[in-house]
């Protein structure tokens, strides 16, 4: 069932700096936190630029495929749902990631949102981040080759607020899929970790200790990292590690011994030792964890 806005329809205004692109989606409410995300900024880490991009990359790619976009097109990343989007032009929409009830269409299947539709979101019944892909792709002025909001450095557009209007890009192909079957998101996953590169900074049983215990996701987790609380990991040596490059999925351990799993907006360099790196396949599970959820680690089969 579609909810239509009763207010009169304004002519579509041009987006400032949008090269003639017209407004298509108005953010009526962003929910707790919503941003535009694509696959981020590649090739600038040595200049201090975080990669950024979708926290749950496979869900962004899937949502884009469902509306016939390139997988790297920009979409809206909702955190804990709660948003309301007003469509001032009709558009095909697909949702992936954290499943959530909406006023106009379901998960993992493209649906048509006619002009005037207000697409409002509840709270996800599992997971944290829902991706809203719109046919043509969300369009904002790119910065260093990406439309992503980088919450750490401030590059890219500001987080979405009520009243923000977004334009769309050009559709590139037809719709190919009707529905993508999905496995449920686990609130207590066990994720695989490749040991190192700085596991030698910890006591002999440090990696085993991390893999034996359960950790909880703390309230101050965000797009930079999932901060965990649980068994502290003790260092075998004192002193400081010289700053070195960091990757997504790196489990960095500050002096208090409580690990942080780096997500999309992690700093490109850091000075705390990395005891292990979550596998590419399992990192999206971490990106979907909510504060309070439990997490376990196990050694990757290859490590």
């Amino acid at each position: 069932m579609n909810a239509h806005r009763s207010s009169g329809r304004d002519p579509d205004p041009e987006i400032s700096g949008g090269a003639g692109r017209v407004a298509a989606v108005e953010i009526i409410a962003p929910g707790p936190y919503a941003t535009v995300q694509d696959l981020g900024r590649r090739g600038f880490a040595h200049l201090g630029v975080p990669r950024s991009g979708a926290a749950d990359v496979p869900s962004l790619r899937l949502a884009n495929r469902l509306v016939g976009n390139a997988e790297d097109a920009a979409a809206i990343e909702l955190t804990f749902g709660g948003a309301a989007l007003g469509f001032t032009r009709g558009a095909w929409v697909a949702l992936a990631g954290a499943p959530v009830r909406t006023s106009a269409g379901g998960m993992w299947a493209p649906f048509w949102a006619p002009s005037g539709t207000v697409l409002s979101f509840g709270v996800p019944y599992e997971g944290l981040r829902t991706y809203v892909a719109i046919r043509g792709g969300v369009w904002v002025p790119p910065v260093l080759g990406s439309m992503s909001t980088d919450s750490l450095s401030g590059l890219g557009p500001a987080p979405l607020t009520a009243g923000t209007v977004l334009a769309l890009g050009e559709p590139m192909s037809g719709l190919h899929a009707d529905l993508a079957p999905q496995r449920p998101i686990s609130a207590g996953p066990t994720v695989e970790v490749v040991r190192g590169p700085r596991d030698d900074w910890f006591t002999d049983d440090g990696f085993a200790t991390m893999c034996a215990g359960a950790y909880r996701v703390s309230q101050d987790s965000n797009r930079v990292g999932a901060r965990l609380t649980g068994t502290a990991l003790r260092r075998a040596r004192t002193g400081e590690l010289p700053s070195e490059g960091m990757v997504s999925g790196a489990i960095q351990v500050p002096p208090d011994g409580q690990p942080i799993v780096f997500l999309a907006d992690h700093p490109p360099t850091g000075g705390y030792p990395v005891i292990g790196v979550v596998t590419v396949a399992d990192l999206p599970k971490v990106a979907q964890l909510r504060p309070g959820d439990q997490l376990r680690f196990r050694p990757a089969r290859s490590s």
């Binding site: 700053s243 070195e244 490059g245």
Partner: protein, 195 residues
């Protein structure tokens, strides 16, 4: 030594910043990878075929490498920073000598971090090695020229910051509209010129 960093990256021990810069320069010419991130004693290489990169890097490590001179950038500095008198007091020298020692330092951009375009400039005169502020400022303007520990830096954009401010420059070190957003890249030689 080459360490694996997850499934898609390698961390190469170089032992020195100069060696990191040399490896960085060689890798940029030779390989198609996503990221090459030099640090004081390491280079991180992300993407590409990690297994094929290991022998390539090992070969590079053992081949003789000449020093690749970075380009030199002159930064015009007005030495009017709020912390200049305190830096002079901490160093036990006059403000004029702080300026002379800062402009006399042969800086090299070591690596970038903290913020996009924020280069850690190594080569600071040892007498100017002062601690960070006990209470970081909530707002430091873009272009502020600062020192802390063994480093100097130019703040690329307004941000919070705990370094001691000794001056400012009108030269933009960060511009996302340009072809190359950062004026100071790892290996760039930097001279401070008093204005």
């Amino acid at each position: 030594m080459i360490r694996r960093v997850g499934e898609r990256a390698l961390l190469v021990d170089t032992g020195s910043l100069a060696a990191s810069h040399r490896l960085d320069a060689r890798l940029r010419l030779l390989t198609d990878v996503e990221e090459i991130v030099p640090g004081p004693e390491t280079v991180l290489v992300v993407g590409g075929r990690v297994d094929q990169l290991i022998p390539l890097i090992e070969q590079l490590d053992h081949s003789p490498m000449h020093d690749l001179d970075g380009e030199t950038v002159d930064i015009p500095v007005v030495y009017d920073g709020e912390d200049l008198p305190e830096v002079a007091a901490l160093a036990g020298i006059s403000v004029d000598e702080v300026i002379a020692r800062h402009t006399g330092s042969e800086f090299v951009a070591g690596w970038l971090g903290f913020a996009p375009g924020f280069a850690y400039l190594v080569g600071l005169d040892p007498l100017l090695h002062v601690s960070r502020l006990d209470r970081p400022r909530t707002a430091v303007p873009a272009g502020a020229v600062a020192i802390a520990g063994a480093y100097s830096a130019v703040y690329p954009a307004a941000s919070p910051g705990g370094w001691r401010l000794i001056g400012h420059t009108s030269l933009a070190v960060w511009d996302v509209t340009g072809d190359s957003p950062a004026l100071l890249k790892p290996g760039t030689r930097v001279r401070m010129v008093a204005r």
